[in-house]
């Protein structure tokens, strides 16, 4: 489904990603972990198409298409979803109205009929349950005045409504208390299907107790230096990142 090949990217002349390789198949959950400043969020933003980042080398194939050639909105319509680390407030635009416009633009792109207000309301009523969303947040402007936890929950609610093929969750666990974390993680699990995939970007292993990944990758200094299964996450929790750094440095030295 997603094939990242030797991806290099920079912002303001600083190289952040220095040759990322990653393969994601439908039905899989991948966790990307790493210390602060390792390039995790950059990878998420580059995949979503943020223009501030310049891709200098490498390619990203998504369902056989060159993802990097698509505009951000085209990527979204093709089923790429980013749950933002810092969800953006859009004053004056109600959450419902926003989501309806978003969903219909995606449906239209995929040759489906646009939903009318009644059908749409029915859909969101049902999807609200997935993340135990407070109904009052629907009519309020997108993320405006939401608490940190509400914003994160709202991101997963968007995901539940838009049903992406590839969801990238960027630090969705940060700022969540343990109850909210469980609800959000439950939501992601409920949305899991054979034909979609999730990339979970996180600092801590905590989230991975609830969203159990098939693969765990460690991103350091702009490249994936170690991959493994969920046990790797536990190991990282215990030992931190330094031991990998030493190990990878020596690998590089011998290479």
């Amino acid at each position: 489904m997603l094939h990242i090949n030797n991806l290099h990217a920079r912002i303001n002349g600083n190289e952040i990603l220095s040759g990322v390789n990653l393969k994601v198949q439908p039905g899989e959950i991948h966790a990307i972990m790493g210390p602060n400043g390792s390039g995790k969020s950059t990878l998420a933003q580059v995949l979503a198409g943020r223009e501030a980042y310049e891709v200098t080398e490498g390619e990203v194939l998504y369902e056989g298409k060159n993802l990097l050639e698509l505009d951000p909105e085209e990527r979204a319509r093709e089923g790429v979803f980013l749950a933002f680390q810092y969800p953006v407030e859009i004053p004056g635009v109600s959450n419902t109205y926003f989501l309806k416009a978003a969903l219909n633009s995606i449906r239209k792109h995929n040759g489906l009929e646009e939903l009318d207000a009644v059908e749409f309301l029915k859909l969101i009523k049902q999807r609200m349950k997935i993340v135990d969303m407070d109904e009052s947040l629907l009519s309020r402007p997108v993320n405006e005045g939401f608490s940190g936890g509400e914003k994160k929950r709202n991101e997963i609610f968007h995901m539940a409504v838009l049903e992406p093929k590839l969801a990238i969750l960027d630090e969705t666990d940060s700022g969540l208390d343990i109850d909210a974390l469980r609800i959000v993680a439950d939501g992601v699990n409920k949305l899991r299907r054979k034909d979609n995939a999730v990339i979970v970007v996180t600092h801590y292993q905590r989230l991975l107790n609830y969203i159990v990944p098939d693969f765990v990758h460690v991103l350091m200094e702009g490249r994936i230096v170690k991959s493994g299964t969920k046990e790797l996450a536990l190991e990282l929790e215990e030992k931190g990142y330094d031991w990998i750094k030493v190990a990878s440095d020596s690998t590089l030295a011998t290479a």
């Binding site: 198409g49 223009e51 953006v88 004056g92 416009a101 402007p141 968007h158």
Partner: protein, 482 residues
């Protein structure tokens, strides 16, 4: 000063020297402005003597006035002698129905999306179409007539209802009020007149589409709306103008009079005149005086405007709150893009007791546009327990545009309350990206955010207008982000 006096004397003398000579057959007044021009216009319209005198008085006063310099706008000096002050479309006979209207004219309306045929079908909307200074078609007259409502062109009102015109003309905006109002009073060509008798609720929204067509024709519209005790009327003014290379002056005057107790007038405008090209060349100068007077107790006047066009906008729809418990409202969206400039706002003059006013102003600036809100809230000594709430929000798109706020507040008693809130925000790249990541285009995103920003004003507009206004906003801001 002495030169001015001399000129004035010369001009005054000229009238007597040359007397009343004018080519009544001509369809267009000669370029320039003299007392003869005014006599020509007045004669063309077969006006009574008192109205000609009124015009001449305004003209003589205008000669002593100077163009206002205080608005926060820049433009080249206007040559008032290079303007044609009257032109009429060629018209063979009096028209009884739309079928008799020149098909070319109808085509133009259709292009503008305001086909009269369609409008005619749209029950509930009567259209008085003004094409270059002269009304060519008036619909729904009968239904209004049955209700006792008078809705006609200003010229017609002068002929048919001179006593009403004489009573109220200039009663809210005196002929010498300001430079542009005085000019309008001297040379106004046509416009609309509307009278709602006591206790009548006007059975439909009244709508006028103004349009500027002939080259170099200044437009000097005059609108007068009078509502008697307990009467209600909602009036829509929509404006579009085609591409035009030279700047055109538009100096209209609109007077609203809520005469009796509980009289209500709601006046909505969507203005989309040619704003000039991307370099700021051409476009309409829109220098308008709009004012309403709440004379009766519990009367109410409400202005709603969506200003997207014109190279320069200078207008302050105001309300004089004279009757006790009277209410004034001003809801405004002003958009400037490219090199457009707007200096707009309102004046709320509280005179009666327990009067209240609300001001909601939304300014949107894009490109190199400059948007100024200028508003006066004045509460007189005797206007006890009066209230005002003002909210002025500015939205910036890009970093070359400007937003300015000039609030003036004067409260002369201790029992009144005035609140003023203001905010400035910017559509950020992160907001656009967020929307795009959800599948929306930049244009969708900007439209959505801008419409959200203007929501409080749009909901004051009648339904059809709100839809049109949203579309217009999208068109005006096309390509301004990303």
């Amino acid at each position: 000063m002495s030169t001015e006096t001399n000129t004035l004397e010369q001009l005054a003398n000229r009238e007597y020297k040359w007397g009343f000579v004018t080519d009544i057959e001509a369809d267009t007044a000669p370029r320039g402005l003299t007392e003869d021009t005014i006599r020509f216009i007045s004669a063309k319209k077969k006006e009574p003597e008192w109205l000609l005198e009124w015009r001449l008085k305004a003209y003589r006063h205008w000669l002593t006035m100077a163009e206002p310099r205080w608005p926060n706008v820049r433009y080249q000096k206007i040559d008032y002698q290079d303007i044609i002050y009257y032109s009429a479309p060629k018209q063979k006979k009096v028209l009884n129905s739309l079928d008799e209207v020149d098909p070319e004219l109808l085509k133009t309306y259709e292009k503008l999306g305001i086909s009269l045929n369609e409008q005619k079908m749209l029950a509930g909307v009567a259209v008085d179409a003004v094409f270059d200074s002269v009304s060519v078609a008036t619909t729904f007259k009968k239904k209004l007539h049955e209700a006792g409502v008078i809705f006609c062109s200003f010229s017609e009102a002068v002929q048919e209802h001179p006593e009403l015109v004489k009573k109220y003309l200039g009663s809210v905006v005196p002929a010498n009020d300001n430079f542009f109002a005085a000019l309008n009073s001297a040379v106004f060509s046509d416009g609309s007149f509307c009278y709602i008798p006591k206790g009548v609720r006007c059975p439909m929204e009244l709508s006028t589409y103004f349009r500027i067509n002939s080259a170099d024709t200044g437009q000097f519209e005059r609108t007068l709306i009078v509502a008697e005790e307990g009467a209600y009327v909602s009036y829509l003014e929509g404006c579009t103008a085609p591409m035009r290379d030279t700047n055109q002056l538009h100096a209209a005057v609109v007077e609203l009079v809520a005469v009796g107790d509980r009289a209500q007038i709601k006046y909505s405008t969507v203005q989309n005149w040619y704003p000039g090209d991307k370099e700021g060349k051409g476009g309409i100068y829109n220098f308008v005086t709009k004012r309403g007077k709440c004379a009766g107790k519990n009367s109410k006047i409400s202005w709603t405007q969506v200003e997207t066009g014109s190279a320069i906008t200078w207008k302050y729809p105001s309300v004089i709150l004279q009757g006790d418990h009277s209410v004034g409202e001003f809801y405004s969206v002003a958009v400037v893009n490219n090199y457009q400039q707007a200096d707009t706002g309102t004046k709320m003059i509280h005179i009666g007791k327990n009067t209240s006013s609300t001001i909601v102003s939304k300014g949107i600036s894009a490109g190199f546009g400059q948007n100024s809100y200028r508003g006066l809230v004045e509460i007189k000594r005797g206007s006890t327990r009066s209230r005002n709430f003002s909210q002025c929000d500015s939205l910036l798109l890009g970093d070359k545009c400007g937003a300015h706020t000039f609030p003036y507040i004067e409260v002369k008693n201790k029992t009144s309350r005035v609140e003023h809130e203001a905010s400035t925000s910017k559509i950020g790249e992160d907001q656009i990206f967020y929307c795009k990541q959800r599948g929306l285009t930049t244009e969708d995103a900007v439209g959505m955010i801008v419409n959200g920003f203007c929501k409080e004003v749009f909901r004051e507009l009648p339904m059809e207008f709100a839809v049109e206004a949203q579309k217009l906003l999208g068109i005006s801001l096309e390509g301004s982000v990303g």
